[in-house]
Amino acid sequence: MMTIRKLFATVALVAGSLMAAQAATAEDKIRIATEGAYSPFNMVDSNGELIGFDVEIAQALCAQMQADCDIVAQDWDGIIPGLRARKYDAIIASMSITEERLRVVDFSDKYYSNVLAFVTPEGSSIEVTKVGLQGKTVGAQRATIAGQYLEDNLGDVVDVKLYDTQDNAYLDLASGRLDALLSDKFPAYDWLRSDEGNGFHFQGDDIDINDEIGIAVRKGDALKDKFSAAIKAIVADGTYAKINEKYFPFSIY
């Protein structure tokens, strides 16, 4: 009898401590969402693991903050609603800091700066001006700065096509359905260097829209300042430059 009672006591004790341990990790763990379809910033490798500039920055920031992090993939157009619904605590997915987004989430300081650029087939004679693009079909990813820029500045003269992912937009550029693609410059730079991007190039000048990329957190969350401090720290100690170098031969900070 004694032994059975002892056994129960041990089981209860072990179960209790396990639950306590789990509660502790759930509290300390920072859940970070990224998209996973925005090469080279965030994408999925052949093993199904999330990789890319954003992911490495996220890992470096977590190491800096000595926090336990969990990085999950989330479709782009549901990424802010998911943050607000507490499915994760931060978004590190190359998200531009915009006025509209600031109404619903907070952003850390920037961790890189973005410009927009048009991509067209090589030999295309399109001039990327309001007059030159008249009646053309131009694509961009839905719910991005590029998509918004197209709708706001060229929506009245071009046929705007919005895609769920950047990859689908590339497919349609390659098939000839699109005359031009407006995109963030750095991911397009990466694509142009790949086999699929062979035969395409940047057209015209970059569009500098003073676009800064930050980490989105819920309104009023203390994580905002922690991330800002951690970004400052990894830029200062050279970790940032090391990651930057792996992806681009020029600084994107």
């Binding site: 509209e100 839905r142 919005l162 895609y163 769920d164 497919l171 098939s175 000839g176």
Partner: protein, 249 residues
């Protein structure tokens, strides 16, 4: 989280534009779907193996794969091939609108063909026998007896299929079309009010469903009217000897 009713009113006209495209897609692909389904179902109901095999394979493929995969195959898949891009069909396949209609039509044709096939087989044998006894040839039987009867039998189930297609049409938004769902998602990308916009879009879908349900009720009532029992009052003023005193009271 705050709730913004004003966003719904502000963007309602654009949602309605999207609803119109959704209706167009469902209507056009529905009609093409029926046109394809009728010959397919007749072949499927045939007793010859080779005549049955082709529609069987077609139906098996389109019922056995997700509609999203079918849309992607038509839109992104076909355009990967040089010969498709250089064919005379490219001006059509280039447009997401026609790609959506092609995918929806082929998909709904598969389901409808199966519905019509079961309806054809559900026609009471006595009616076919009667047609034969009247000396009708096979084509005349099909035209006068089999198709009209199968149509009546299949109607309720077909109404179901149209409603399923209405909801499936939301996938058009994945190939850049601004149908009701695509429009809602594009608006949300700007306003960050997913609950409000999806609620509004959901209500519009419900309204369209109500319209479809009403239409099919009406058609069922028309085409299957012999199935409904109508109580008729005993005519007054009949010959006194024919009247039943129990009923008249």
């Amino acid at each position: 989280m705050t709730w913004e009713w004003s966003v719904i009113w502000q963007y309602l006209p654009r949602l309605m534009e999207g609803a119109w495209l959704t209706l167009e897609l469902v209507l056009i692909s529905g009609l093409i779907g029926i046109a394809l389904a009728i010959p397919l179902s007749l072949m499927r109901a045939s007793s010859q193996f080779w005549l049955k095999a082709l529609p069987f394979t077609y139906i098996y493929f389109f019922r056995g794969t997700p509609l999203l995969v079918q849309i992607f195959l038509v839109y992104y898949g076909a355009s990967q091939f040089e010969f498709v891009r250089e064919s005379i069909l490219w001006p059509i396949l280039k447009q997401p609108y026609w790609c959506a209609i092609i995918a929806f039509s082929l998909n709904t044709a598969a389901y409808s063909a199966e519905l019509f096939r079961s309806a054809i087989q559900a026609i009471p044998v006595g009616e076919i026998e009667a047609a034969e006894a009247m000396g009708m040839s096979k084509p005349v039987q099909v035209r006068r007896i089999i198709l009209p009867r199968a149509f009546g039998i299949a109607l309720p189930a077909y109404g179901n299929e149209v409603i399923l297609m209405l909801k499936g049409s939301a996938l058009a938004s994945t190939i850049t079309l601004l149908d009701l769902t695509g429009m809602a998602r594009t608006i949300i990308a700007r306003t960050y009010t997913p609950l409000e916009m999806f609620l509004a879009a959901g209500l519009v879908y419900l309204a369209i469903s109500a319209l479809i349900i009403g239409l099919f009720r009406f058609m069922e009532y028309r085409f299957n009217r012999y199935q409904y029992y109508h109580h008729t009052d005993t005519p007054k003023g009949l010959d006194a000897q024919l009247r039943d005193p129990h009923i008249d009271q």
